[in-house]
């Protein structure tokens, strides 16, 4: 099944639930009508939270730059000896 179909099915299911709640009026309709707004707000907040947390925990590797520099020096030395042109661009 295509992914979009899965998502649409999910949305239709949630909408049906929402309509059901409106019709049966178990919960006061003034609250029920606002549920989609709450849902979208929660989704937005969750997204922002994920971005924020991810940003804080973003793995960095400053030592890799140093190791890379060493690798470059080693590579240049080896290749220059064997006739490969490694002069600066």
């Amino acid at each position: 099944m295509k992914h979009i179909v899965k998502i649409m099915t999910l949305l239709v299911g949630i909408s049906a639930l929402w309509f059901g709640l409106l019709k049966t009026s178990m919960v006061p309709s003034s609250h029920t009508l606002l549920l989609p707004i709450y849902f979208i707000m929660c989704l937005g907040c969750y997204g922002l939270l994920m971005v924020g947390v991810g940003l804080m925990r973003f793995p960095t590797c400053p030592q890799e730059a140093l190791l890379l520099q060493q690798d470059v020096i080693e590579a240049k030395g080896y290749l220059k000896q064997r006739g490969v042109d490694v002069g600066s661009e």
Partner: protein, 238 residues
């Protein structure tokens, strides 16, 4: 007795005269007891990249380094297809030529594949053990934002969608590449999402990504629009 594996490493290049030599050296340094070949797909670089590749062939052998050039820039997807046609290995590695993908991770890709029998092993920068260097806050923010959006919309099953440091079983790569039509890094996303949808076994290994040491970066501002269009396309068609 396990059949011996051969790894074809496809490296598309454009104006990577210095970097390609460094990358080749590092590949040979880190893949000691491995049967592999490097396929350089150069799109007619004006800076003499192909001359350097020919010099490298003299050092390492023309059977280990294949130069399969093209007349001009024809896109990443077709570069992979082109390289694939000349690949004699049963596994294919794709990686960048600019040293942001360090060959020292190649053994960990191979090991992971042998351990798990996966069809695809993809490098991820976003897990513990991986990481980036040389990204300012803005870049990290857009990267993280893009990733969260893609995860929410696509449920891809991998943590790093736009990464292009990957090991594929050759038959799997051939299968996926034939069904992908996007360009640029959206192409990378499409490949991994389609693979996920088709049910291929995908594993991840942490990699570190040091941003462009030599050469100019090809990332710009209109990329955001392209990215959103790409996401929408993937949402609807995969």
């Amino acid at each position: 007795m396990a059949e011996r594996n051969k790894y074809s490493i496809i490296i598309p290049t454009y104006n990577e005269r210095l970097n390609i030599a460094l990358v080749v050296f590092l590949v040979f340094k880190h893949l000691r007891d491995v049967d592999f070949e490097i396929i350089v797909v150069d799109d007619g670089s004006p800076d003499g990249t192909q001359e350097v590749v020919k010099q490298l062939q003299q050092v390492y052998g023309e059977d280990r380094i294949l130069l399969r050039a093209r007349p001009k820039k024809l896109g990443l997807g077709t570069a992979y297809s082109h390289g694939l046609k000349h690949a004699s290995g049963n596994f294919v590695v794709i990686m960048d030529a600019d040293l942001s993908h360090h060959p020292k991770y190649l053994p960990s890709f191979i090991k992971k594949q042998l351990e798990t029998g996966a069809s695809i092993v993809t490098g991820t920068r976003y897990v513990k053990g991986g990481g980036v260097h040389g990204w300012n806050l803005m870049r990290k923010l857009t990267s993280r934002g893009a990733n969260v959006l893609a995860q929410t919309l696509l449920w891809p099953g991998v943590s790093d969608l736009t990464g292009s440091f990957r090991l594929y079983r050759k038959s799997v790569l051939e299968d996926i590449i034939s069904s992908c039509v996007s360009k640029g890094y959206v192409f990378q996303m499409e490949m991994i999402v389609r693979a996920s949808r088709k049910g291929y076994h995908i594993e991840e290994v942490p990699i570190t990504f040091v941003d462009r040491v030599y050469g100019s970066s090809k990332l710009g501002g209109s990329e955001i629009v392209e990215y959103l269009k790409g996401l929408a396309y993937l949402l609807v068609t995969t």
